[in-house]
């Protein structure tokens, strides 16, 4: 990674939880809005349920930051004639997600060193 690019990505950190989740979902493959809502709901055990206004505000922002890109509208497999716009994560987006994961990992390691993890779960 070039140094200035790394710096630009690090400027975005920390990512909000939902931003991070969106990047994670898209890292698994291109996805449309409804697919993201369902996937995020599933990954957070129903705790995060996104609505259109909020979701697309975030997608527009992520797109503006160059982390994701919107594709043309295309047919949704298995849904008849429904056409939806798909989104794809960019290289920059993957880098941001990975930088965020590393950041969180270091935080988690510190917590583990203090034996904080497991305490509440017991």
């Amino acid at each position: 990674m070039k140094k200035d690019e790394l710096k630009a990505v690090e400027q975005l950190l920390p990512l909000s939880e939902v931003d991070f989740l969106i990047l994670l979902v898209l890292a698994d493959g291109d996805c449309h809005g409804y697919g993201m809502v369902k996937e995020i709901r599933q990954r957070t055990d129903g705790k995060t349920s996104l609505l259109p206004g909020n979701l697309y505000a975030m997608l527009r922002r992520l797109e503006g930051q160059g982390l994701i890109e919107g594709l043309d509208r295309q047919a949704v497999p298995g849904s008849g004639d429904q056409r939806r716009r798909y989104f794809r994560v960019t290289d920059r987006g993957l880098k941001a997600a990975s930088a965020e994961a590393i950041r969180m990992k270091s935080l988690v390691q510190q917590a583990e060193a203090r034996r904080l993890i497991g305490r509440t779960a017991q």
């Binding site: 400027q11 809005g33 206004g53 505000a57 930051q65 716009r85």
Partner: protein
Amino acid sequence: MKRRPSPLIRIYGRMIGLYPADVRTASGQDMTDLFEDLLQESQGKNRLERIFFVVQAFADLLSGCWKARRKQSWQGLPTASDSPPFDKIGSHLMLGHDLRFTVRQLRRSPGFALVTILSLAVGIGATSAIFSAINSIVLRPPQGVQDPQRLVSVFTGTPGERLYGLNSLPDFEEFSRIPALQSAAAFTLDLLDLSREGSRKTLLAESVSGSYFQVLGMRPALGRGFLADETKVGDAHRVTLISHSLWVGEFAQDPSVLGRTVLINEQPFVIVGVAAPGFVSRVLSLKADLWVPLGIPGMVSEEVQPKDFSNRRSRQFNVIARLAPEASLEQAQAQLKVMAERLRSTHPAEWQDESGEPLQLTVADTDNGMPPKARKAAAAVLTTLMVPVGLVLLIACSNVANMLLARATRRHREMALRLALGAGRARLVSQLLMESFLLAVAGGSLGIGIAHYASQQLNRLQLYGIPFPVDIALDWRVLAFVLAASLAGGAFFGLIPALRASRPDLVPALKREYSEGSVRLRRFSLRNFLVVVQVAGSFAMLAGSMLFLRSQQAAGQVDMGFDPENIVTARLNLLLDQSERTAEAKLQQLTALRQRLQQRPEIESVSLAGSLPLSLVQRSAEVRAEGFQPDPQESREVGFNVVTPGYFDLMRISIAAGRTLQAGDTLSSTPVALVNRPLANRFWPTENPIGKTLQFGDSRQTLQVVGVVRDHKLRFLNEEQPPHVWIPLAQHPDQPFLMVLARTHGAEGPALALLSQEVEELMGRPPLLAPAPLRDMIDISLLPNRLASSFLGVTGALALFLALVGLHGVVAYTVSLRTREMGIRMAVGAAKSSVIGLVIRQALSLTGVGFLIGAPLAMAFGALASHLLYGISPFDPLTFGAVALALSTAAALASFVPAMRAASVDPVQTLRFE
């Protein structure tokens, strides 16, 4: 073909237009798509969750729009890659700031917020519940029906009141062939018994002719509609379609329900389909649960009997039709006019009414399944219901306005300070309005909960074992109504206080003089006016509910002319008798039943009758008397009952003249009849009726009058006695239905089970509908009265509660403004009691003015509803006195606490403060 999106999606799409153009282009369509996907997903959830989702989605849309617009107004700041997250932009901008400020303010006075929100929730909840009933019956387009605007109803009748009459089946066969109608179907409404696995339910059902479902374009959710060869009138198969809600409720959505056999009126029927969700009857949008083919042999209702299928005079059938693709309503009417002329010339006898007036055919638009007259009537009833709940809402709003006024006055110093520091007046007004809108929205949301609960209760309501016939549901129309009611309420109770509060006299306010001295304690202030409105409204409603309660009480004491206590009844359906026995054989079986019951120790006497007095079903026939010519407008129809000889003894009805019916009145002896005094007076005003003859029914059978029955109530408690005839069962054995009446020696409970058991043993099947005490059946005639009094009682209590809260608030507020005056009064020697008296007098004088307005309102209301009142005048002085007394006491109590506070003012403190 692309489906037309639902109204919600269209509204959502329109509202996307509020977003800035660039956002709209970038993701407007995507957002609408996502909303549609989520909305579809929510179909699987329950109704409350769905409503919740829709509210959330719209709130999300609006807040997103707000953020996007705000972001635009901040353009020029760095954006794109390094733009800050949305929620950190411009947090000091007006609206968001106002919102947070308001929430903080309200949290500082939780009592005020709670009372306000509760008042509004009660008002909005009650109004929305009634509105959802109106919506379900009058406004909501029929569900599960294709192109409802192309559906029409056809009626046979005479011009004027009786234009929208029902049709006969032979006529229907002919007029349904006119080219302007693509297809047509006839149907009737019935109550049928559904039994399975030992449980029995009485359900509203429709008997429909062959093409009924095709005419409506109803696609069953499961299975199919009826096939052509299943619906031949007179030879129809025993197949049935069940409603979607019955399928969900009774069959747990089991798809294997198709092909299963259920017992309907004790006969086996095969379920062939499940109707589309929300599909209801075309008559008044009643909630039908079963559909069976019309004309199954032996399977007919009380009203419609086999001979009615071929009888042109028997006009018992609703007709619904679909206009041909190019045809208009006017064309259909023109063609029906020609058809009616032809029918009149080919069947002159059948095509005139009793008074000789020619009949005609009328076609009417049945967008909502109701002829225009019925729709108007239903709308009138529901609007009448809307008046009291609207009044509750008005009282709630006045209440809130009053509290806001008081609050605004208390905050005048803050306002003055802010104005002096340069805040714009518009700014202050918008902030104060924000407060009232926030309260309105909170009250409205809670109100939706109340409305949801109330409508669920209404849906669960059973009237004498029969489910409440209207499916009341909250849908987007109700939500829109609540939103409009909340916002209008917010503007109504927020604007005046806001305008007022934002215009204080700066100098005295800043010098802290306003609240102590310069405030004008006008006698006719806006605040007082609002309290008067509340008192007047609650007075009118309480008086109304009292009138109905007293009328119910009076009805309980009325002499019915017979003794309904300790009598149990059961209904026998004799049409189900498949055996080809003669009338005599059937009669023997009934006699055997009577004798067996008679031998039981629990039972004193047993009798059979065609119908029960004061019940909903009454039979009538044309009766003629020699030498008597009725007026042309007067109907020859007279009520009649078929009874066994012991009937009058059992009911404790005495015979005024002549003899009663005897065991010797049989098919081989002279046909006889008993009459009542009104009939005798009508036919033979000056002569002795005993020995006179009557011609009875279509066959004009001659009956000899042998006795006169003492007057007793027949149809309604508050009726003028109508003419009536009683004929012996032994001479008229061919009855479709009969009631068994048994007078018991003691409690009715054991006799009910006994009746069921004996009937089943002897007749081979249980009685139709569960046996019940006669008292319960009679109570049905009091139902409108009872519903009205409980409805008004509840709304009246709500109104009273709200009015008292308002009164208390105003008195407390006035007292707080007059603290100084009270202090001075007491400093110069006024006793505590005189200060308390002063405050309470003020409250009572407001209440008094409220009475002056409320009493005429209540009287007008009572006069309108006088036909529902029994044995009591709409101007009953006792009712009005009692309500006035109760309200005054309540008002005095409500003002007592602030009065005590006024009296406990320390004069020294007050004067020192000066």
